[in-house]
């Protein structure tokens, strides 16, 4: 990407950052389950790469327009495709003429190319989308190797089947990937953690049990609570935030008032031209962008204003198509949030404004005899004063399966991310596109995990997750608050961004980690009620849950979430020292409103014989009614490190009670 790595502190200019310490991820192999790759993209350039790691057992498979020998190299070292489960489900051949795709690892929709480039793309200078977002494109781990497992197929929607997904897990584990990046989601209601219909949780469990971190998307069904996906505690789940970059697009109204919208408009200026709002004759319903009709309004050569409550990018293209077909020359879409942009193709301007500015434009239209507007090409604004927000679309916690397991774990940039694409994707330019989604925040974290794996090869997936969660930014890199986009804006909380915004340089030196292994996951499976025989089969050894069911609150997570506190509860955590051998940490508590929190012991002492210490935390509610979640934090600090766990507590005097709490 051309901005997010600078924004996150991995600038190429500073030799002391994690990227340099980790030798840009050299030697690490990242596996992606996605829509394939466009191997000719410069981001897969392997110039200067050494031999493929000898431990690598994978390979590339040939297929339609994909020659394994010619298309793979020392950067793209694995490329396989799995479609049998999908074909068997459909019981008919896949017509790739009707729905363009390649029966090979080749990527037609551009998604897999985009995702893998974000995590591990090689340097490509002077990259932009038609001049917008100009910069040096690169992944986090520019020297990491890429293995693509194509499981998604373009059958209208781009979808994959669990059977193929599990095959990809099976092969990737065998091939020897160091981590797996899954920009994949399913649908609420979710399946349980040991239900293979989910496909991801079970495959991920076996990967994590073998030391392979699995990073997965939070999902795009936000901003509503309990919409989070990929909720298993062994998965690192990633929400999407904005970066400090926007694409302001000047709208000059005929009354000389200027309004700053946002767009990816790289065409020529649209000089003063007619501006219309296609109101119905009854004036009952506003003109929704998703269902524009122009029966009573001539839009030929004009710019159209419309309003919508739908946040998706598709609304932009739908409105743009309707206006273009009716002879219009541009569309202004009023909606909130207003930073979900998209190119509308052929340099057709589709400019987004919020409702406040949209209403100003509407009032101008209604008051002017011949309203006009001029649309200037979009500019790129980087740095201050662009604020960081958790994206509207990013799925929110708490988990609907296990609300005591905080999800998402972390947030990373996932809005208007510029990266490589497939030339077959209609909204690309010069091999690059700008896309938004938790699909694109996920590989940001995957790239960072690759760097962490390079410097700490022995850290478990849980230790890596802990390092990322406990060191995250609670405010943006400039120290400004991070907001949460939604129906009403608020400051972001742990159900929006988990530990916060990923801070790669801090994650490299967490001080302490909340480590977990298979026994901790067994603890979780027992706590949520799976039976002994199922757990025994899942973990491959005879397992008996304790007679007294273990508490899910004691799962050794780097976060504390208590969804049903009625009076008082005590929970236990264990931290492992990964910093200086001799060190002392003191606790610092920010209690949630109405909750008393105490920690014993208040000081943790580590030395050459003690590198793990347990502590207990007592929570007592003073609330007398069922409340919503309140948030706080527990920080262990030695003066240099700050190991912060987000705390979320909901008082439930009446248990299992729905009252919008």
């Amino acid at each position: 990407t051309t901005r997010s790595w600078d924004y996150l502190g991995l600038s190429t200019h500073y030799p002391s950052n994690l990227s340099h310490k980790a030798k840009k991820g050299d030697g690490i192999i990242i596996g992606f389950f996605d829509s394939g790759v466009w191997p000719e993209s410069e981001v897969f350039d392997d110039e200067g790469y050494g031999p493929v790691p000898t431990r690598w057992k994978g390979h590339c498979d040939s297929g339609q327009l994909f020659n394994a020998t010619a298309d793979c190299n020392k950067k793209l070292i694995g490329a396989k495709w799995f479609i049998d489960g999908f074909l068997a489900e459909n019981k008919e051949p896949f017509n790739t003429t009707e729905k363009p795709d390649y029966l090979s690892p080749r990527d037609v929709v551009g998604h897999g190319t985009h995702v893998s480039a974000i995590a591990a793309g090689s340097f490509v200078s002077n990259t932009s989308f038609k001049g917008l977002g100009l910069g040096l494109a690169r992944g986090a781990a520019t020297r990491a190797r890429i293995a693509m497992y194509k499981v998604f197929w373009n059958v209208g929607p781009v979808i994959c089947s669990s059977a193929d997904l599990l095959r990809a897990f099976d092969e990737a584990i065998h091939d020897g990937v160091d981590l797996l990046s899954l920009s994949i989601g399913s649908f609420v209601p979710l399946f349980s953690d040991v239900d293979e219909r989910d496909g991801i949780a079970i495959g991920a469990f076996h990967a994590v049990a073998k030391g392979i971190p699995v990073i997965a998307a939070a999902g795009n069904t936000g901003p509503h609570a309990q919409t989070i996906q990929n909720t298993a505690p062994w998965i690192l789940t990633v929400a999407a935030s904005t970066v400090d970059r926007s694409f302001p697009t000047l709208l000059t109204l005929g009354n000389n008032i200027t309004i700053m919208g946002q767009a990816l408009f790289a065409g020529k200026e649209i000089g003063f031209t007619g501006l219309v709002y296609p109101e119905t004759s009854e004036l009952v319903y506003p003109s929704f962008c998703e269902s524009l009709s122009f029966n009573n309004t001539s839009v030929d050569g004009k710019v159209v204003l419309c309003f919508t409550t739908v946040g998706s990018r598709a609304v932009l293209t739908t409105a743009a198509s309707a206006v273009r077909e009716a002879g219009g020359v541009g569309v202004i879409v009023a909606r909130n949030p207003s930073d979900m942009l998209g190119s509308c193709g052929n340099d057709f301007p589709c400019v987004v404004v919020d409702y406040e500015l949209g209403t100003q434009i509407l009032f101008y239209i209604r008051s002017a005899r011949s309203p006009t507007v001029k649309i200037s090409p979009s500019k790129t604004l980087v740095g201050n004063p662009v604020a960081t927000k958790v994206a509207d679309f990013s799925s929110r916690g708490p988990s609907s399966i296990a609300p005591a397991i905080l999800k998402p774990d972390i947030a990373a940039p996932g809005v208007s991310i510029l990266a490589a694409s497939s030339p077959a994707y209609p909204f690309e330019a010069g091999g690059f596109s700008i896309l938004s989604g938790t699909s694109f925040s996920t590989p940001h974290v995957s790239g960072i995990v690759a760097l962490l794996k390079a410097i700490q090869p022995n850290w478990s997936p849980a230790a890596i997750r802990s390092a990322i969660v406990t060191t995250a930014w609670k405010s943006d890199p400039y120290g400004e608050p991070i907001f949460s986009e939604g129906s009403t804006w608020k400051l972001a909380d742990p159900f929006d961004f988990g530990g916060g915004l990923v801070n790669p340089n801090k994650a490299a030196e967490p001080g302490l980690v909340y480590d977990m292994g298979t026994n901790d996951y067994i603890h979780y499976l027992c706590a949520v009620g799976y039976n002994d025989s199922s757990i025994s089969l899942v973990v491959g050894k005879v397992t008996t849950c304790p007679g007294t069911k273990p508490s899910i609150l004691d799962v050794n997570l780097p976060s504390i979430t208590i969804p049903n506190l009625s009076k008082s509860v005590v929970l236990t955590r264990t931290v492992k020292n990964v910093g200086s051998v001799n060190s002392m940490y003191k606790s610092l508590i920010v209690p949630p409103i109405g909750i008393s929190v105490s920690v014993r012991p208040q000081t943790l002492i580590f030395n050459s014989t003690t590198n793990r210490v347990s502590f207990k935390v007592t929570f007592t509610t003073t609330h007398k009614v069922n409340t919503r979640f309140y948030f706080g934090s527990l920080t262990w600090t030695d003066g240099f490190h700050a190991v912060t766990s987000p705390i979320s507590v909901r008082t439930q005097i009446i248990q299992s009670y729905t009252d919008d709490n």
Binding site: D84, A88, S162, A163, D170, V194, I202, G203
Partner: protein, 85 residues
């Protein structure tokens, strides 16, 4: 045969590392339900044998139920679709 759908038979952590034995055991298990080894090979879509044990196969509802009751099987469920995000 429209009554048969893709099912996933999940058998948890693999019990040994001999890949041929794992696949053979999957085919034998499937054959015990679909009637013959030939029918089992035809029904089998994938044999999962590296990261974990299990297989994907075309099964009717009744066949899926029968397999779910066999020892060593954690779950048998229908295939599911996923989307990019």
């Amino acid at each position: 045969d429209n009554t048969r759908k893709v099912h996933i038979v999940y058998m948890g952590e693999k019990q040994h590392s001999n890949l041929k034995l794992i696949t053979d055991s999957h085919i034998d298990m499937l054959a015990s339900v679909v009637g013959s080894k030939e029918a089992a090979v035809k029904s089998m879509i994938y044999s999962y044998q590296h990261g974990f044990s299990g297989f994907a196969a075309m099964l009717s509802k009744d066949q899926a139920k029968m397999i779910a009751e066999l020892p060593g099987v954690v779950h048998v469920t229908r295939n599911q679709l996923h989307s990019l995000q």
